[in-house]
Symmetry: C2
Subunit: 312 residues, 2 copies
């Protein structure tokens, strides 16, 4: 099929997003952000909300800022699946970026209410056709899959922690999903292959229909039964905070696929362009601030620009 350009959100389409909702404390070489809105579900949902409706599943604690709820509401994100656990504070992550953003170090993690989180899908979510399993334990990602009816298109993300401590569950998950989205260092840890082509081919032999390996500012590769696609990154000049770029990428990707209701090789390639430019907004400010305020017109203009940059 030919490319479908997004003109505006498809309000008849929707995706399910499961992940973390967090307070982040971020230290970059340039600046510091304290108790800012973070978490894989936050970034993925706001990114996806440019393309389709979003049903969010996650948990927050007794201290979660009502203004953050308003932010989700303003993006028309359905929060029926967002649990409020009054027994403790919200999950908190503290991270620091070093050396021109090349390395990230986790300074502190306070799981808080996330420790006992069991994602529970409201009945209205269970028949979702497009599902994004953001970065949480593979146990919980599998638990979400067990609640799904029908035959949804499922995207999952993970991080190196789960590859180390939940390897079997992660491998079980990979078998059951349609699209695995990870970064290059994680792909190497999972497959033992430092060459991205070998790593990508090995990953799709492990179960998922296709895999996207992200290389940060060096772009991303798609590995699919029909071929390989390599996409340079959108050229960000004003990098402020890379946190959430991967979640935004995956959220926008699935939002686009849901909006056009097609998951062909060509559609996934086109989705990667939208995912890349959407994630480019995330990294230009702390938290979801720029992602949220940018608006669809900037996404459309960056999409056209990226298309130009990669065109012969």
């Amino acid at each position: 099929m030919s490319e479908k350009v997004i003109k505006s959100k498809n309000v008849d389409a929707s995706i399910l997003v499961v992940g973390s909702v967090a307070y982040d404390n971020i230290i970059t070489p340039l600046n510091t952000g304290e108790r800012i809105l973070g978490g894989s579900a936050s970034y993925a949902s706001i990114a996806a909300s440019y393309y389709a409706g979003v049903n969010m599943v996650g948990v927050v604690g007794h201290d979660f800022d009502e203004e953050f709820i308003n932010r989700f509401n303003r993006r028309s994100i359905n929060l029926d699946g967002l649990q409020k656990d009054l027994s403790g504070p919200t999950f908190m992550w503290t991270g620091k970026y070093h050396e021109n953003f090349h390395n990230r170090e986790t300074i502190d993690i306070k799981l808080n209410v996330f420790e006992n989180f069991r994602p529970h899908l409201p009945n209205s979510y269970k028949s979702a056709d497009y599902v994004m399993l953001g970065n949480i334990s593979p146990d919980l990602q599998l638990h979400v899959m067990d609640q799904l009816s029908g035959n949804p298109f499922v995207v999952a993300d993970t991080i190196d922690l789960w590859i180390e401590i939940k390897r079997n569950e992660l491998f079980e998950l990979i078998k059951r999903i349609n699209l695995f989205v990870i970064n290059d260092s994680e792909a190497e840890i999972i497959t033992g292959e430092s060459n991205i082509i070998n790593a990508g081919n090995k990953l799709i032999s492990m179960g998922p229909e296709c895999t996207i390996i992200k290389k940060g500012l060096h772009g991303a590769y798609l590995f699919h039964a029909e071929g390989i696609f390599a996409l340079p990154a959108y050229p960000v000049i004003d990098l402020q905070d890379p946190t959430g770029a991967g979640d935004s990428f995956a959220g926008a990707l699935l939002g686009y696929l849901s909006a056009i209701n097609d998951t062909s090789f060509t559609s996934i390639k086109n989705a990667m362009l939208y995912a890349t430019v959407t994630a480019s907004l995330t990294v230009e400010a702390f938290s979801c601030d720029r992602l949220e305020s940018a608006g669809i017109e900037i996404i459309k203009s960056r999409h056209a620009e990226l298309k130009n940059i990669i065109s012969l």
Copy 2:
């Protein structure tokens, strides 16, 4: 203009290549090569010889292997400008690759006859329309330009050494050339910009019509008055020795431009694809071995493959 696909070498076209001809000693994490054919002019000339005739300018010493001359002859490279200096041995470079090829260390350099090398163009070379100034001192690159008549399209490469010890001469050179081809770390040293977009824009403000910044296995960016073009690398699986990849890239690029006799933005973009796949052959063996033996059919097939990989 639309893309011109290369079917075979254009024997009516030719380029001038100036650079080093060397014995290399190479240590990689996998293997070792001793007294193998190296040097920027060797790689660039053999790469370019797939597309157009090549007139080479360089110097070798009394110990230069006659079989290496035969290798150039077999690629129909014109050696009228290759000086033989019997006063000493050939330039020798010893380098070592560390950590999965990420870092290169120069173990030893013996300039030998290269120390007193002054590139002298035979009269028949002076009217060249396409000129590649491979990595040698900017003094010598300027000395070559002073001998040129007409209005040739000039490509130049450099390395960090010259940026440090011949900065003024290098800046003078950059003003006079058409296309500057360097890698990302060199671009950062010259411009002080770690962001590739800022670095590229700054470089074209310094004089050259356009600049290509190479990122190794992460591809290359073209900065041109008409826009930016980003190209992923050809996905090499069997990396054996990265030496000469940049020289091969530049040589093939100029060879292609000469073969189609066009230097428009579109043509330079298309040339980058041929340059990338030609360089992919170089790195699959020590020296020019694979580059030389591969043949045009493999180049054409990899070109088609790369085009597929970057196509929506």
